[in-house]
Amino acid sequence: MGDNPFPLDKDGLLEAYRTMRTIREFEDRLHLDFANGQIPGFVHLYAGEEASATGIMMHLRPEDRIASTHRGHGHCIAKGVDPREMMKEIYGKVGGSCAGKGGSMHIADLDVGMMGANGILGAGAPLACGAGLAAKHRGNGDVAISFVGDGASNQGTFLESLNLAAVWNLPTIFIVENNGYAESTSRDYAVAVDSYVDRAAGFGLPGISVDGTDFFAVYEAAGEVINRARKGGGPALMECEMVRFYGHFEGDAQTYRAEGEVVDLRENRDCISKFRSAVEGAGVVEPSEFDEIDAQVRVLIEEAVAAAIVAADPDASELLTDVYVSY
């Protein structure tokens, strides 16, 4: 085995790989099962973007909070939500993360600090300010992360939140996951500034932009802004420039993309392939060790799907429960 040139020890590298592979397998399987008509509603897949969720979340503890987006499966898995409960949730079944009442766009698990995927674009940013405010009030060094895409980076809620977090010096980090498309509309058309670092500067925040398909770039930059926030250094904005392997939602024919675009991205900008070849190339992890994780992840997701299919539908009485704590 060679010397380890990476910022994580071998266990950490294997953990990162397992998380990214779990997300990929989860999303690839949903892609197939949606096409088969097995999945109710609609789903927005995170495949191709795994390095962002994983590289950021590896710095977090369960008490840290995240506010996610409609494309939230990857954030959930990386933050520690059980993929088996997530799959049941996406099938709308008993035993789902939200008892089948939320679905893909609303998966939450407050016990592990996941404040919810969100069907309203940009809505998580004020909530993450609130989580940051609660952490600051308690003075325990917790942080909050707000995820938005390049699309929701234009929402007033997001822009107001950048200002509020700066004014209150909150331990809230804003991650712009720029995959180049707001649904079908290109980032270059819809975002007036060329650089999110410039946008951050306009709000008095430090900004940093990284290649979101490079796990190590994400990991190191996230570590810097998160640790700074933990010590009272305040908010920051970080752009992960990344790629989306599937459409905005499943069923999207993606005719707005260039011919061969996705093929090229899968070949040259697959964050998992890049991670694996770098780590294997350095001789830190054997190919067989990665293969073993691949096999375990396949079994996990296969079992998750099988369990979701046979899980019971919620009882009709569940329709009326949990609107209020008391009423």
């Binding site: 300010c129 609130g130 609107v323």
Partner: protein, 340 residues
């Protein structure tokens, strides 16, 4: 009337201030935020110059310091932050100033706070209170005078409170802060200087319990907020004509104590619903529908509604006075149902 032990006569403004003060002293997770609620943060003059635009939070900063937060003019961000902090174990009270500003942060209220518990399978609690001024009468025109209680009452997951007097303001605000669901606490701006006897010690009034302000046998008048006083005025006029009215103050609109209304109608056989809101889908319309569905057999006459017209709130004092339901309109409606 003799003053009860431990009570004094204070205004609605003072009652709200006292409720916030006592709950902040009682529970370190209670924080208060809003535009100008300290009023002077970062300015060269006094730190707490304003205490809110109408002085409701004046003096609290001196006692509780940085648990009162002036916010940027940024309702989506700070109302959302209050909701996010509530989901993380705090008990924030956010002041929206005028409820009309709900338009710029409604997503955080009705898509986020109201939905968390249900959408997350019963695992979330969001104990946030959003205080806002409601109602017309201050010549504040169309964007600062609305009675939007029906809009909020429509949303499952929200509780809606709209007190009519200082005693209820204090008790219901303390209940709102201690409650574990999102509460919209509506303060009628024309009531701030109205006084009542209020106990000094903290107390709470349960949600969903209407108050029978005045008992009567000929007609029930059901209302809330500022209109309680107009209804009492009408009842007084009618009393001199030999018509006995029962005036019911709903106090909370969600949950709503429809049982008390139905019991009253069982005795009087007649109902007038009064609402400062616009008529369509109003609280008055809701009460009328519920009584019709549940107690049609008790009714000896058709139900009458007295509401604002289906218009924005006008500015001109002459027009605004015509907009707000009057004691005369209420009395006329009662006479109409009595005549059958």
């Amino acid at each position: 009337m003799t003053t009860l032990v431990g009570t004094r006569t204070i205004t609605c403004r003072e009652a709200i201030n006292e409720a916030l003060d006592q709950e902040m002293a009682n529970d370190p997770t209670v924080i208060v935020m809003g535009e100008d609620i300290v009023g002077g943060t970062g300015s060269p003059g006094e730190d707490d110059a304003w205490g809110g635009v109408l002085g409701v939070t004046k003096g609290l900063y001196a006692k509780h310091g940085d648990r009162l937060l002036d916010t940027p003019l940024s309702e989506s961000a700070y109302v959302g932050a209050a909701i996010g902090a509530a989901a993380c174990g705090m008990r924030p009270v956010a002041e929206l100033m005028f409820i009309d500003f709900m338009g710029v942060c409604l997503d955080q209220i009705f898509n986020q706070a109201a939905k968390f518990r249900y959408m997350f399978g019963g695992k979330a609690e969001t104990p946030v209170v959003i205080r806002a001024m409601v109602g017309a009468g201050l010549r504040a025109a169309a964007q600062h005078s609305q009675m939007l209680t029906p809009v909020l009452t429509h949303i499952p997951g929200l509780k809606v409170v709209c007190p009519s007097n200082a005693y209820d303001m204090k008790g219901l605000l303390i209940e709102s802060i201690r409650d574990n669901d999102p509460v919209i606490f509506c303060e009628h701006k024309a009531l701030y200087d109205l006084s009542a006897e209020v106990p000094e010690a903290p107390y709470s009034i349960p949600f969903g319990e209407a108050n029978i302000v005045q008992e009567g046998s000929d007609c029930s008048i059901v209302t809330y907020g500022m209109m309680v006083h107009r209804a009492e005025e009408a009842a007084s006029t009618l009393d001199s004509e030999g018509i006995s009215c029962e005036v019911i103050d709903l106090r909370t609109l969600s949950p709503m104590d429809i049982d008390t209304v139905i019991e009253s109608v069982a005795n009087t056989g007649r109902l007038v619903c009064v609402d400062e809101a616009n008529p369509r889908c109003s609280i008055a319309a809701d009460v009328s529908a519920q009584v019709t569905q549940q107690a049609f057999g008790s009714l000896r006459a058709g139900i009458e509604m007295v509401t604002a017209p289906h218009t924005p709130v006008p500015f001109s004092p002459a027009l605004e006075d015509a907009y707000i339901p009057s004691a005369t309109q209420i009395a006329d409606a009662v006479r109409k149902v009595i005549a059958g």
